[in-house]
Amino acid sequence: MDLQRNHNHTTIVTIEKVIDETPTVRTLVFSDDVMSDVLPGQFAMVWIPGINELPMSVMISDESGKAAFTVRKHGESSTGLFNVKVGEKIGIRGPYGNSFDLKEGKLLLVGGGTGLVPMMRLLTHVRPTDDVTVLIGAKSKDEVFFEDLANRLLEKNAHQVIVSTDDGSYGEKGFVTDLVEKYVEQTKFDGVYVCGPEIMMYKTVQSAHSRGIFVQASLERMMKCGVGICGSCCVGEDLVCKDGTVFDGQHLSENKEFGKFHRNKAGILENY
């Protein structure tokens, strides 16, 4: 059944568990063999019946055969997903997109907010010999999540998980991108991976790429189809859903729109 599944066709799944990560972020767990095995960086199109369909990175689950979405409540659609209760149904299609090229050795993972989702899955792929630094950025203390999870996933590795908050209410004070600059300055990482607000990704890519360090970012854009038809997710000549979501620092540094513009629902370029 699952082998034959047309991954573009919407499959209905039932939410089995809801975890409150912060007052505005929840993880919704469901059973699905296909989604439980996606590659780090891959996403699904998630249908909240009667409300909307949104692209969501596929979150890992402790239990095999299960997967999750970790959603921050924001506008109408994400709030709709945030409010889905145990036993209720959502539709999923995918997985879509490429995935991170995980280097060996000294790794730096940088995530902000729900941008941590692909980072957590990436952590399940590191080798025991990798030395991993995770930087988590948040506005304030009560927006911090996945710190414990990151530590747990890295139990067998040389690692550090460092949190920074803009207001200093937890961990280091300041923007996580300042921490990035500091770390790439002092360590020649074998790979840097980032997902979060575009400005965070832009600065991280700059910090690493300008020093010749391999860096990849997982981009977000307005997505309608997820399959390379509608064009809504374009960044320069790239289509995020089809060519990405993961792009190399080299490629991004040549893209005219990355870090500067995104398109709104009508397709009009807007500044970040």
Binding site: N6, G50, K224, V227, C230, S232, C234, G236, A266, G267
Partner: protein, 303 residues
């Protein structure tokens, strides 16, 4: 002798006969350049309106299990003015600007916006099956079609194409009216009004409920429309609907199309599909000893 796959659609000359259909990846000049490099003979823009439109909420696209897509994007677009600014730098790509509107003045206004752009042709979308007051609701009204076509023809020297589809008025009537009003070519067809319902949640999947069916399921329907138009009228035709292989393309040429457009095939085979089809057409022409596309246009009508 290497066959030449250049083609003319009435006054429109293209180096390659396979175009990108409207609404597919069609909102960015950078992407247009990339598609042109990938083998598209021209790109048709997303249908543009006088004002920017957000379109419908998601889900806007649904993949049919047996093949094809149903979409109700709702003609989301940045508006003619924004779009014209974006494509102003264009030098290389043959861009066909698709326009959608409710009254002749809408079209007149939009054509003005593009006066500083290199535009290969305008395509009037008279056939979107899922947005009220534009598209098919216009195409289904012969009087309005007449006025819109005449107005656009009077506003520009650039060739004008009418895109038709299956609506509530017989599309052949719309074609006839457009021809009488001076249209230069016909694109046939747009998506076919359709629907999908989720049996678990018991509701239509698309936020707009109704959408337009595209891709392989509509190919036999589109092909008969091209054959019907070319049997009845003497007008250059661009075939569109479900084309995904070079054999499909040839079928449309044999039915009477001078060029073709494709959209959904990109969702299945990505943008390599342009050169795959170009190469297939070339091979076929070599085998059949044709030096020009023209030689095979409409051959199936002779049998």
């Amino acid at each position: 002798m290497e066959p030449n796959i250049a083609t003319s659609i009435g006054p429109i000359q293209l180096d390659r006969p396979v175009m990108l259909a409207s609404g597919i990846l069609g909102i960015s000049l950078d992407v247009f350049n990339r598609l042109y490099r990938s083998g598209a003979g021209a790109v048709v823009t997303k249908s543009l309106s006088t004002e920017p439109w957000e379109g419908y909420p998601n889900p806007t696209i649904f993949s049919v299990n047996g093949g094809g897509w149903i979409n109700a994007v709702g003609l989301s677009n940045p508006g003619a003015e924004n779009f014209a600014k974006m494509i102003e730098p264009n030098k290389d790509v043959p861009i066909i600007v698709s326009l959608v509107g409710s009254i002749p003045e809408d079209f007149e206004k939009m054509v003005k916006e593009f006066q500083n752009c290199k535009v290969t042709a305008y395509e009037l979308n008279l056939s979107c099956p899922h947005v009220a007051k534009v598209g098919l609701e216009v195409g289904d009204d012969p009087e309005l079609v007449k006025k819109i076509v005449s107005t656009v023809k009077n506003s520009t020297n650039v060739p004008v194409i009418a895109k038709v589809g299956l609506g509530t008025t017989h599309y052949l009537k719309t074609v006839g009216t457009a021809i009488d009003s001076g249209i230069d070519a016909i694109t046939a067809i747009n998506t076919v009004r359709a629907m999908a319902i989720d049996v678990e949640t018991q509701r239509p999947i698309l936020s707009n409920k109704y959408g337009g069916l595209s891709g392989t399921p509509i190919k036999p329907i589109a092909l008969r429309c091209v054959y019907e138009i070319s049997s009845k009228y003497d007008i250059p035709i661009i075939g569109c609907g479900g084309i995904s292989t070079w054999e499909d393309a040839i079928e449309f040429f044999l039915a009477g199309a001078s060029a073709i457009q494709l959209g959904s095939a990109i969702g299945d085979n990505w943008i390599d599909v342009f050169n795959e089809i170009n190469n297939g057409i070339s091979q076929y022409m070599k085998k059949k000893n044709y030096s020009k596309i023209e030689e095979m246009i409409g051959l199936a009508k002779k049998s």
